[in-house]
Symmetry: C2
Subunit: 244 residues, 2 copies
């Protein structure tokens, strides 16, 4: 089996949450946000090693979250100014044996074993794969003075999530070229695409949300609770009572 | 003050929820989904009348939800096959005095007085306005065989919500032309845009979600509870405890 290293982006500043500290340490249901992703990666039979990239100064706090006895090779490294710089820093810390890199945002605590496995397996086949969900909203492009310029055809549009899994050499090349040529992107797949490599889309979960705003904290907490209850929403079995 | 009639789209089939009945009757926190929007419209000083467009056969159930003593002129009419056809049917039932139409999806129970007022006021100024939020996701366009064709520049992209408020004559013209020329769209603004009228974007709330999937039921319930608690997420005051 190929050697897959997970790279966890955990250098968030928590600005939009107004926290004054890195949001990966925010407690959801009594546990830091970061711990949810780490647990999924720890238990995945497809992941051999984990790199956590965090903000300078937060390394010790990450080790507190990881705790003793983490069942996998794990390193914590300092990231850079923006998310892209952080992933770039993380790549320098990959174990030598690494053949594939699974990038995941610590801000997505709802990732499941099933989704992680699906994306890793697609990437092993084709070299690169990302989780994404079909866009359900009607999308407008705004023009001058806040007037709608047009409605974007949402057919074939997907909202990217993480995990995003890549051949190590593709991802390293993408980040090197980004550095040299000044490319900036909001996800890693964009850089790999720009190098001309094919990136496969794997259907993600609408529940695999990214915790960015205060509203997201409420949503993520509710989803974690529903999952714990093995709620019908996740199992597709029980249904809320009908209106009689 | 101009005469504003709210048109509530409430003919959903609840297919993606697997309910077997119209989702507007689904109970959230003990009340039907439909009742939340109706209450906001009832209490709005900017709305003079309400039309509920529902599925054929659900008219009596809508009246049950409305109950006695609804503090505003209200009618319930039968809609058509798709959402666009339903709005079109609703337009035929507008009170004669109507100058502006505020279209709202019953599936968005989190709409607030503040957002409704902001969109109505913008439309009174410019003729047409919609609630929308900046797209936060990285958006991909998929090509053949599920391979990413490219990343869409999300700068200037907005996810449309409701309320959407229009001059009555613009909206009627848009729906007539849509009927004649076979236009199909996922929101009313698209039709009005296509007629060449300017549609103003008003910043909506990320919490103003549309209940479509089972996950959305969990999210909407959590948001309704948070609002009831006057949670920090809505008030921007209290904060979750820091990770110590």
């Amino acid at each position: 089996m190929p050697f897959v290293t997970a790279l966890v982006a955990a250098a968030g500043k928590g600005r939009r949450l107004g926290l004054g500290y890195n949001k990966v340490f925010l407690h959801l249901k009594g546990r830091p946000l970061l711990s949810y992703s780490l647990e999924v990666l720890e238990k995945s039979p497809l992941v051999q090693a984990v790199i956590v990239v965090t903000a300078p100064g937060d390394v010790a706090k990450c080790w507190d979250v990881i705790g003793r006895g983490y069942a996998k090779s794990i390193r914590v490294v300092e990231g850079g100014e923006e998310r892209q710089d952080s992933v770039s820093q993380g790549l320098k810390a990959l174990p030598a044996e690494t053949e594939f890199v699974a990038v995941h945002d610590a801000a997505r605590p709802l990732v499941t074993q099933e989704l992680l496995a699906a994306v890793v397996e697609a990437a092993l086949e084709t070299g690169a794969a990302i989780a994404a969900v079909p866009v359900q909203d009607t999308i407008k492009r705004s023009g001058t003075a806040g007037i709608v310029e047009g409605t974007v055809d949402r057919e074939g549009l997907w909202a990217a999530q993480t995990p995003q899994v890549f051949r190590r050499d593709w991802l390293e090349e993408a980040h090197s070229r980004a550095m040299l040529e000044g490319w900036r992107a909001t996800d890693d797949a964009s850089l790999v695409e720009r190098c001309g490599y094919p990136v496969r889309i794997v259907k993600g979960d609408y529940g695999n949300i990214k915790v960015t705003t205060p509203v997201d904290v409420i949503l993520a907490t509710a989803l974690l609770e529903a999952r714990k209850r093995q709620d019908w929403a996740f199992l597709g079995e029980r249904r809320p009572g009908p209106y009689a």
